[in-house]
Subunit: 333 residues, 2 copies
């Protein structure tokens, strides 16, 4: 995959995260589903924000985190997503461009504010997310630049794009352009509840070959195939005859194709601080490796290395140069 302008282009919800530590009783009082992502309206977002203590504000968004992570590995990357021209939107744009990501989606001048995700981090490091989609609801197929998609080895799409009404058209348009240009399309299932909302559509994307690569964690995979048995779900994924990448937290990851199943261990950590972004950064490492034609086990190792970095601090964007971390660990790209 050389000679192309971009290694990976991501399309996703452009979100700024607001994180705060919280005790489990706050989650219970607010009826928050621990470890999950809930969509909230503006009033609910305002209420939940009022329940937060000290906050940390960091640009987020699942696919955006992945793209920034891939950029930190040295990949040539681009991102498509909708912010409003407000303080949060300018912060999002600054941060993603600051990491060298090509980002030119025009900001909305009016309408809802830039999306925010209120993340409660409990003492066990688990994060519980509440997303107000705001300006993301205005992402449309018109925001997908065909030349950008054509020149990207991989177009990476988040399942969360099924939530804002018009974004799935952008998703389909991008996938079709990528395939017509002989490029690859990857999808992350995003969240077990997201899979629950759009199971039939996600299975249809896989079975009609709109996507070539699927990222999932074990919860999302079991939700996709409606089984409590991981091996059953994994077997079902293998039978789809695509490249499947399944993360299993501290148990590492499994990469499946019709021909082979590869298990790769998790990367060791000193201490777990905040799991926010673990899946996003795993995908970052994997895609950065894949774009450089690394073998699939090394792609998974790069993913594990990136996930390990991001769960040892608050926030879902890397704080260290991942290319350097990869070199230090014998995984130079």
């Amino acid at each position: 995959m050389t000679g192309l302008r971009f290694d990976v282009t991501g399309i996703g919800n452009a979100i700024v995260d607001t994180l705060a530590t919280a005790e489990d009783d706050l989650l219970a009082r607010e009826k928050l589903n621990k470890g999950g992502m809930a969509l909230v309206d503006e009033a609910r977002a305002d209420h939940l924000y009022s329940q937060m203590s000290q906050t940390t504000v960091i640009s987020g968004g699942s696919a955006a985190n992945t793209i920034v992570g891939a950029a930190s590995f040295g990949a040539k990357t681009a991102f498509i997503g909708k912010v409003k021209d407000d303080a949060a939107g300018r912060e999002f744009a600054h941060d993603i461009r600051g990491m060298g990501v090509h980002f030119t989606t025009p900001a909305a001048i009016d309408g809802p504010a830039t999306a925010r995700c209120l993340v409660f981090v409990t003492p066990d490091g688990e994060r519980t997310m509440n997303t107000y989609l705001g300006a993301c609801q205005n992402l449309t197929a018109a925001d997908v630049d065909p030349e950008l998609i054509k020149s990207s080895a991989i177009t990476y799409l988040e399942g969360y794009l099924w939530d804002p009404p018009a974004a799935k058209e952008a998703f389909i348009k991008a996938a079709d352009i990528a395939h017509d240009a002989g490029q690859k399309v990857a999808l992350t299932l995003s969240d077990a509840f997201c899979v629950d909302r759009y199971r039939a559509e996600f299975l249809n994307l896989i079975r009609t070959k709109k996507v070539d690569i699927v990222f999932a964690n074990q919860h999302e995979l079991r939700s996709l195939y409606e089984t409590s048995d991981f091996d059953t779900a994994l077997g079902a994924l293998r039978d789809e005859n695509i490249l499947g990448v399944v993360t299993r937290s501290e148990h590492g990851s499994v990469v499946v194709t019709r021909e082979a199943t590869r298990e790769v261990g998790a990367f060791p950590i000193d201490r777990l601080v905040d799991t926010t972004g673990a899946g996003d950064l795993f995908a970052a490492g994997f895609l950065a490796g894949l774009a450089k034609d690394k073998d699939l086990a090394d792609c998974a190792r790069l993913g594990a290395l990136a996930a390990a970095e991001v769960i040892q601090h608050v926030g879902a964007r890397p704080q260290k140069n991942l290319a350097q971390r990869a070199r230090e660990n014998g995984l130079a790209l």
Copy 2:
């Protein structure tokens, strides 16, 4: 010091921090004085922001960090400082109130934006700060509520208040009200360059007994007495006949009165991530202990514990409940 409404009230610049990791060559290119705080105008702030990669935004301000830290120890606290009614100003107000701090200084409706501090964190964990004072320049004596100061056991003032033109009047007014009500006044010297700018005035504050307690790190102390020898500077501080609290990074702290000198070790850490806020949080623990009539060595231990927490993550506000950390370490307040 019981029966009073507030243990500690802080007066300081109300600032939102924007942090980014940076290599040393960026500091050299931008002629930034490593480890120091420089005042910058809006254009320079915009330029430096454009040089930052991925950012983390966290409410800051030296005295504000200290007050939030004291609140995390369970102290009854208040803060006086000026923000504008903009996104950053609302974040600052949310965060300080979210920690239980009484904060009612009216936000400016027009004029300069809420102050921001651009912090470059180098791989050695050192922070280099660039402050655009913005709305802080509009803090005046009128913002000092006499009832609040009278009802605070300790009023804590930052030396940085000498930078915005009108704030020193607020400082003097607060110190006089506190003393008239029989309360204590504490001053942090803030920064060695700040001491260099206002040495004569700071010495005058000490020698005219406008302040009862002085916090300094070793660089600030040496700057105050214009000596390269730490022991000489410490002797000079002891001769002022006030309570002097001097921090020495990994070498712990020294508490001096005319009668005695107490040395207390640093609190052990697993890894240094970002020294931002170390001095602020040391003062938080010390003041929280002092307000509860702890002996001076225990006050210094509480300071060391808080400083150790804050230097193990990005940002100058505590991410853990410090009252709980104190209990776990036999330092219950």
